[in-house]
């Protein structure tokens, strides 16, 4: 199953390099969103709390603009049937999830670097806590976005449905990740952030389990 999932990822990776379906929209959104925030903030000094919140706002909307492509592009091009004919649902989901995890990590690393370079108040004081919250948050974001993308790819109004469906599902993850980012900016120790870290780990495990259970039904009809 792992080799088949990797083959799906490999196919998607090469397809993305040729078509630039997701990369272009993600890159444009990151640049536009951060520019708008910078213009809006101007010379004002913004607090750490606000910077942490805005950091995840950009991540959330960037994910909304690009991560759905992995399934939507298959459906729009009519290649879903081809994939159904060559792979089991679990192999397809694993491959698509791997692709989205890597895409989310690349995208969010760029966002974090831009934030660090452009916002004075974005100074990380606890790097290990930031690392854990960043990794766990990104994995949760990728899992949720992938299964939601699979659901909405079968629907008519894809563009509208994706953020509408994502918002309630991602809300617990975003709120906890914002809190963890805030902790890492004000230097809170990992020990004191255990509760929030446990929430994000639980979220990731629950979403992953539910996604694998649901995907068979979503993918088939």
């Amino acid at each position: 199953m792992i080799s088949k999932a990797f083959a799906v990822f490999n196919k998607d990776f090469h397809s993305e390099l040729r078509t630039r379906y997701a990369i272009n929209s993600l890159a444009m959104f990151v640049i536009v969103a951060i520019s708008v925030i910078m213009f809006a903030v101007g010379q004002e000094k913004i607090s750490e709390g606000l910077t942490g919140g805005l950091f995840w706002v950009v991540i959330f909307f960037t994910a909304m603009s690009g991560l759905a492509r992995t399934f939507v592009s298959e459906e729009e091009r009519g290649t879903s049937l081809t994939l159904q004919l060559v792979a089991s649902p679990s192999a397809v989901f694993s491959g698509k999830l791997l692709f989205n995890i890597i895409l989310v990590f690349c995208m969010n690393t760029v966002i974090a670097l831009l934030y660090a370079a452009l916002f004075e108040s974005f100074v990380i004081k606890n790097y290990s806590l930031f690392f854990f919250s960043f990794v766990l948050g990104n994995i949760g974001l990728a899992i949720s976005s992938t299964i939601i993308a699979a659901i909405i790819s079968k629907a008519g109004a894809k563009g509208t449905l994706y953020p509408v469906l994502s918002f309630p599902i991602l809300l617990p993850l975003i709120l906890t990740s914002v809190q963890l980012t805030l902790f890492s900016l004000d230097g809170t120790s990992i020990e004191d952030a255990k509760f929030e870290l446990a929430i994000v780990v639980s979220y990731d495990v629950i979403m992953l389990t539910v996604s694998y259970m649901l995907f068979d039904f979503i993918w088939k009809d």
Partner: protein, 212 residues
Amino acid sequence: MSTYSVEAIKINKTFGRRLVFNDINFRLDNPGIFGISGPNGSGKSTLVKIIAGLLSSTKGKITHKNSEKEIIPEKLHNHIGFVSPYLVLYEEFSAWENLNYLSKIRGITFDKDYAKELLERFLLYNRRNDLVKTYSSGMKQRIKFIFALIHHPELLIFDEPTSNLDDEGRELVYNIINDKSKENILIIASNDKSDLDLCTEVLDLKVSNKDF
């Protein structure tokens, strides 16, 4: 010789309140060409999708067996070669890349010699490195047959196999159908008289409750 069998018991399909077909029964366990005909909207494509495991029936059961062992749905795709007008290959890849990527996703080694043989047989070998989006509709139809045959499936399902093909393409497809039907079960869904003439038995979907 194929030891593959497909059995459909009381297959029924509805979309919402609309009944597409009802009480379809058949058993195919010997190599040969079996046809499914019927007017537009009678459910030919729906029935072949159900047989291929791409769509669930509303009622009834399809059983695929290989050497008397039932094939689980997760593994069914490796036993079926499927061609249909709504099957689309990746247009951003060449024919060769499509066959390579899709074989790897299937979990089989990409057999370059067999791929070359099929590409030559379908007169596409010289265009193997061109992107599929540059192909004509007839060439796209021919590459679908290579995709359906590359993994040596026991069951071949061809939905409107000669659509978009010129006389030369039709001839190629009919030769393949005749060759493969000696060892494999082949199901053809079509309205074309010359396609159906190849079949030993035909299930007509406009006549309800008819069996093979």
